[in-house]
Amino acid sequence: MNLAFLRAHAAERVVSLNLCTDQMLVLLAPEKIAALSPLARDPALSFVAPQAEHLPVVRASAEAVLRLHPDLILAAPYGAQTTLALLQQERVPLLRIALPQDFAGIRQMTRLLASALDVPQRGEALLAAMDAELAALPRPDHALHALVWEPRGLTAGPGTLMDAVLDAAGMSNASDGRNMSLEALLRHPPDLLVVPATPAYPSLATTLLDHPALAALRRLTIPPALTICAGPFSAQAAALLAR
């Protein structure tokens, strides 16, 4: 969708169908929200859960979305493909946002969305706060070797958002992007283990993160709400690590 067209078009009823665009929409233009995705209300996943509690949500079904008469739909590259195709047939303007994997990408995405929503000054304010938070982070002399270890032994390798967050926090990333088994992890233990906060109900994948053999490792639990999506709040994830 053409950005100049979007700006002239001045959307007033915006529907977001993805958790990541939900958060940006709440931060940039809460008064223009026609609906968010239901995940926006989940405090375990969403940075804006408290605000979203009082905002309307909609499931990604074409019928439910069309009933809201949106004049702009925000979506991510993945998910709800058939619904989005149908909505495009109905000639509802659709803006697909690529999910950024570093802070330069976050700046670009924030400016793009702020411009499309016709609130450029709010975008700049969010970015200024983000840059101030990043600039205030201490730069340690000795970079800690940190590993982001997720359920099922997944790690955050080079080129991921968490890699950029570790770098901003003055740490080096111990992952090469491949899965790491518990034994491989213990053979080469990192200085710091970064794990997501475990959900309320257990699974084998999440209880593995609490295996007693990991007790001796220094660990930091990070709320997934800060790390699932990239946004100006990603600086808070770096601040949490740097502390």
């Binding site: 359920p151 088994s181 213990l186 257990p202 699974s203 593995l208 295996h211 007693p212 053999a213």
Partner: protein, 312 residues
Amino acid sequence: MIRWLALLLAVLAAVSLFIGDATLALPDRLILWQLRLPRTLLGLLVGSGLGLSGAVLQGALRNPLADPGLLGITGTAGLGAVIAFYWGLAAAFPPALAAGGLLGAGVGAAFLLSFAGGAPSGPSLILAGVAVSAIAAALLALALTLAPNPFALAEITFWLMGGLADRPLWQVVLAAPTILLGVAILLSLGRGLDALSLGEDTARSLGVPVTRTLRLAAVGTAFAVGTGAAVAGSIGFIGLVVPHLLRPWFGERPGALLPAAPLAGAALLLAADMLVRLAPLVLPLSAAPPVGVLTALLGAPFLVAIARRGEP
């Protein structure tokens, strides 16, 4: 003979401590005590429970195809454990995991024994076992679909195929007493099973309490495999294969197999688990497959061979 089996098992257990997850590197203290020791102990416990219950079930039901996995008992045990685990019962009260497995195995064993009591013919029992297994697998998938944790459904392979990897020591300690109790109960049934092999009426005339023996076999099997399945999932075919491997050496008498069966079951499961751990070194695998994959791949052709041999 049984001494050689015990020696083999001791060697396998020792070697198991020095075979890592896709590596032959020597373990440091932490890896040895927190990863490889629990894994080895769990293999010993689960394998002995499966091997012995297979020998007892084949004797008690006079059916060479009886096996706790094939008859659905490990399946219902896994179902009980899944319900206790994914809804947070086990997190709030750890013994709930073992209790769930035990309860599930008890229900499965009670159903099969009551079924076998009415019509103890071989094929009908196996058919009942197929039905119980299918229901247990379906309910397990349903339970995982409904589980509140988003990772749950992806873990269905663990519960259906079983695995010994990365179980913490406390879970092994939790499962151990009931498995050992089950093994003790089953080991005491030798004389009754020998008499039963002559038919129920003959056994009764020899003064063997048939109903009591069958009930104890069910209870013992539930204890021997229930908590094991709660911690390690449903590992199949160990119970089926072990008695057949032992008969050439120990004879056809069910009672003679009993002392050897737990040793052979443990040895077989440990050996399979070591092969699985080393598999990523020789095959293009990103991670070691669950051990139940290997026991099923090796055990299923064995089942076919037994079924063929039984043909007139």
